[in-house]
Structure formats: C-alpha cells, structure tokens
C-alpha cells in the first residue's frame, strides 16, 4: 500500500487507476449522504476524486489520502450548497450548523463511507463467477431462473453460487482469524 502511495505521488497512471479503484466507494458513499440526485452525486464525487488526483503535496500514507478525501468531500459539498443555494431542495437533512464546519452528520457520513467501502470491498473480493451472479441477484433483483437463462447455466449452479456468496460475505474471516476472535471472546 505504501508503494502505491509513493507511485501515486509520482502520478503513475497505474497507481492513479488503483487509487480511483480503492477510493471511489468512500467518496461516493460520503457525497451521496448529502445529495438527492444521482447526477449531482456523480458530479461532486468526480470533483472530489479529481481534487485528490491533482493534489500536489505528496501523501505520506494511505490513511492521509483518505482523510484528505473526507475533508475535500466535505468542502466540496459545502461549496455546492452555498453556490447553488438549493439546500432545502437538492441536499437532504443538511442542517445549518453543518455549514459552519464539523458536526455529527459529518462524522456519521464518514462512518457510513467506511462501512459502505468495507461491504463493497468484500463483495469485490468474491470469486469472479460468484461475483457476477451475485451482482445480478443483488443489484438487478433477478431471480435464480432469470440468471440461469441469462447466463445459460443450470439453476442449481446459480443457487450454489448464491449460497457461496452469502457464506463468504458473512464469514469471510475464517480459519485462524475466526479462532483468534473466538479466543478473544473467551478471555476478554
């Protein structure tokens, strides 16, 4: 991860792509919490990511990148609020004290962004075939039969992949890590 940050500081194209890949769930989740329309979300998220990519001062580590991202997202959302003066219409639940700086909503937004990024990453970690079937199930609301017809595979296979996906998502920490958690629960 440190190597990636160093390469990103040197504006390596592959590192930029990686940074985008890693950070877009954080940025999207955070910005989305303050916007209502998808188009607005995309514009502001794009602005956040572009600001991060064009940042000139080198980052020390990945955590600093993320903190910068949150700060930038907050400022960009604030500016958008002020610029468009459409707080009541386009931006939801943004209170007046939010505009003055850090508030509970902002920290909740960060928490939400972290949580969403964790969940998104765990979905991305699924095996390729399982992931493609899970996407159709989860995002497109397709039934097992529809997916089976769509992909030309047996319905049973779809069901197996679905079970496997849920199993992995619920129990990703297996083996020694789960055992350590169990031990910690016993002794702490």
């Amino acid at each position: 991860m440190q190597q990636l940050v160093i390469k990103f500081n040197h504006k390596d194209t592959k590192a930029i792509a990686w940074m985008y890949e890693i950070n877009h769930p954080y940025a999207t989740a955070l910005v989305e919490r303050f916007t209502k329309e998808q188009e607005e979300t995309i514009d502001l998220t794009q602005e956040v990511l572009t600001t991060m990519l064009e940042h000139r001062r080198p980052f020390q580590d990945f955590r600093e990148v993320r903190l910068f991202l949150y700060k930038t997202a907050r400022n960009i959302c604030l500016n958008a609020c002020k610029r468009q003066q459409m707080i009541k219409d386009k931006f939801s639940d943004v209170q007046d004290d939010y505009l003055s700086g850090f508030t509970q909503d902002y920290y909740h937004a960060i928490t939400q962004a972290e949580l969403s990024a964790f969940i998104y990453r765990s979905i991305e970690k699924l095996p390729a075939k399982t992931k493609s079937i899970f996407r159709l199930l989860y995002y497109d609301d397709m039934t097992n039969r529809e997916i089976a017809n769509h992909l030309g595979i047996p319905e049973k296979t779809v069901a197996n992949h679905k079970t496997n996906a849920y199993r992995i998502l619920r129990w990703e920490l297996r083996g020694i890590k789960r055992f350590v958690t169990y031990l910690l629960n016993l002794f702490l």
Binding site: T13, K14, I16, A17, W18, Y20, E21, H24, P25, T28, A29, E32, Q38, T41, I42, T45, Q46, L49, T50, L53, R66, L67, Y70, G101, F102, Q104, Y107, H108, I110, T111, Q112, A113, E114, L115, S116, A117, F118, I119, Y120, I123, P127, A128, R135, Y138, Y139, L169, R170, W171, E172, L173, R178, T181, L184, N185, L188
Partner: protein, 348 residues
C-alpha cells in the same frame, strides 16, 4: 473545535464504521461490542444511524448506488486522464495451481532438508564425535536427536541400516551389503548408556553391543577381508559358513571414518588394542577405553590374535573357553570359570 479534536473525531468515525461492519458479520469481540454499544448510547442520533446502517435494504441501496456510479465516474475520469487505463481484474488461480504452489514449497523444504543431511553425511569425517556420545550414529543431526523413530529412519536412509526397536532397550539392525553413497567410508555407531544394539550382517554374522559401545565397520561389505573396530562390550557370532575374513580391532575410536593406517597405528600404540582374526566363531569382547583391562573370551570356533598394543606378535590361537587378557601391556591367556555370566546382558 481544535484540529486535534477534529482528527480524533474523524478517527473515531472511521473506527465505528469498521465496528459496524464487524457487527454485521458477527465478528466482534466482547471488547469491541462494548465499544460499539457505548457509542450507540452516546446519543439517539447515533442509535438511529446504527439502525439505518445495518438495515439490509439500505445497505443494498448504497451498494447499488456505488456500483452504478462507478462506470459513470470512470468515464468522467477518463475524460480528464485519458492515459489512465482500467485495471484488469486479478487472475483467479485455480485450486490445482494452489495445490501445486504448496506442493512446490513442500518439495523445496524437503530437498533442502535432504541436501543438508547428505552434506552432513558426506562431510561427517570432518566432525569429531566422542565415544560416550548419547546417540546411535556419528552422522546424526543434533536437531533430530530427540526422536528415536526419526533416528531409526535416518539410519535406514543414510547408513543403509534397517533398524527395528526391540524389547528391553534393544535396537536390532540388519546391515546391508553396500551403500553407493559412501563406498570407501566407514560407519561408526554408538550405543547409549542403556541401549543395546544388535547388528546382523548379510552372511549371518551378528554383533551384539552393550551400552556405551562403539563399532566402526565398512560401508562396502562385498570384500574378502572385513575390518571392524570395536570399543566397549560386544558378543560376536561369526558363522563357520562365512566367506569373509573378519578382522577385529579393539581400540579406542579415532575421530575419522576414513580408513587411515597411520592414525590407527597411533591409536593402537597408545591403547590396549588387540587385533583379532576369525573365520567363524563365537566370542565375547570387553574393551572399554576407561575400563581396567581388555579381555577376549572365545566361546567356540576359532580366533587368532595377531597384534597386541600396536605390535605384531606371533599369532596366538585361542581355544574355546580360553580368555586373552591384556593388562598393563602384557597379554595373558586364562581359563576362567563360569564364562556364561559375562554375557548375561545379551539375553536380557
């Protein structure tokens, strides 16, 4: 709010995000659960946020939004950074590949271990070993000494011995004719204090060693004359049908498994060494380096004494029941009574 407080709150928000994720997946430790509960009770807004965060439908909506926005965001990014290309998804390794990976690691470790053992075996003569060493073979690795089963397997592999563990501390080994790995070398084996070792040769010869004894014998046994060096107590049975001439040298072991006449001569001169030759017979040897005297007792068959304390003497042929005793440089032929009690240990 100061900068430090802002950073602290941001870090806490990041931490709570992780805890909620662990909560959803039931991976919280008790301490983490207590931390999360404390945060939830801090304010009603926190509790409301928590309930929203774990709502499956809301999670699905968030994920869907991120998923849908991703390609649109990527398109916009490409407009500004046309040189940036989409990352290729990582290759999914098949199970066969993973198995092969672990197999390769295992083979590598195995080869390394075999390499070390072979190296130590081939260079064993450069390391000294003391006669009272509590181990079965001078070529042993200290790392594995704790395990007699491993040592037996090790002796089977490297010293060409088929070793079995018998009762009452006996180890019974069958000596094979030759080892291509060490054709011109000698094996030197030790017995521990309460260990007894029975070596069976291919021609029916058997040598029983009592505890704290050393034997050195050639790796290549397909030859007319076989020289065996013994220090300690032994009971030797050479069948009359053997085609070999057995020469026994009773001398303290020298720290070299290469046959060297000079070194052996030096060792003989400074000891109570006797050289024996037999073409078939049963006899008992008592020749501890730290013991009072060297004795050879013939039970039956024939036995000839060729040299005493490093000096060639006119051959002395022992009769069954006679005992040759070398003490303080002089050799005496005795006729002891009740000789069977000498090798009682052999039948235990």
């Amino acid at each position: 709010m100061t900068q430090a407080e802002k950073i602290k709150n941001t870090n806490q928000a990041i931490r709570i995000g992780k805890l909620i994720f662990c909560y959803i997946r039931r991976e919280l430790t008790r301490r983490e659960r207590a931390e999360l509960n404390a945060w939830r009770t801090l304010s009603p807004k926190n509790e409301q946020f928590f309930q929203d965060a774990i709502d499956p439908e809301k999670i699905r909506r968030n994920m869907k939004s991120i998923e849908e926005n991703k390609p649109l965001l990527w398109e916009k990014l490409r407009e500004e950074y046309p040189r940036v290309r989409e990352l290729k998804p990582p290759k999914q390794r098949s199970i066969a590949f993973r198995i092969m990976k672990y197999a390769a690691i295992f083979i590598f470790l195995l080869c390394t271990m075999v390499g070390i053992i072979t190296y130590r075996f081939l260079t064993a003569d450069s390391r000294s070993a003391t006669p009272d060493a509590d181990q079965l073979a001078t070529i042993s690795l200290p790392l594995f000494e704790f395990n007699s089963h491993f040592m037996m397997g090790y002796l089977s592999g490297m010293a060409n011995l088929s070793v079995k563990e018998g009762e009452h501390g006996w180890f019974i080994a069958r000596v094979n004719d030759g080892n291509m790995w060490a054709r011109k070398k000698y094996y030197r084996l030790f017995t521990a204090k309460d260990t007894r070792f029975l070596l069976n040769f291919h021609d029916g010869t058997s040598i029983a060693l009592n505890g704290n004894a050393t034997i050195k014998y050639p790796t290549w046994l397909l030859q007319d004359s076989i020289y065996i060096f013994i220090n300690g107590e032994a009971y030797i049975n050479i069948p009359a049908t053997t085609k070999h001439h057995y020469f026994f040298k009773i001398s303290p072991p020298i720290n070299n498994i290469e046959p060297s006449a000079f070194r052996q001569a030096v060792a003989d001169k400074n000891s109570r060494g006797i050289q024996l030759e037999s073409e078939g017979g049963v006899f008992h040897l008592m020749a501890y380096a730290s013991g009072p005297a060297t004795t050879v007792t013939l039970v039956n068959g024939n036995l000839r004494i060729d040299s005493v304390a490093g000096k060639v003497v006119s051959p002395i042929i022992l009769e069954p029941g006679q005992q040759a005793k070398l003490d303080s440089g002089s050799l005496n032929i005795l006729q002891p009574a009740n000789i069977d009690s000498m090798w009682k240990w052999k039948n235990q």
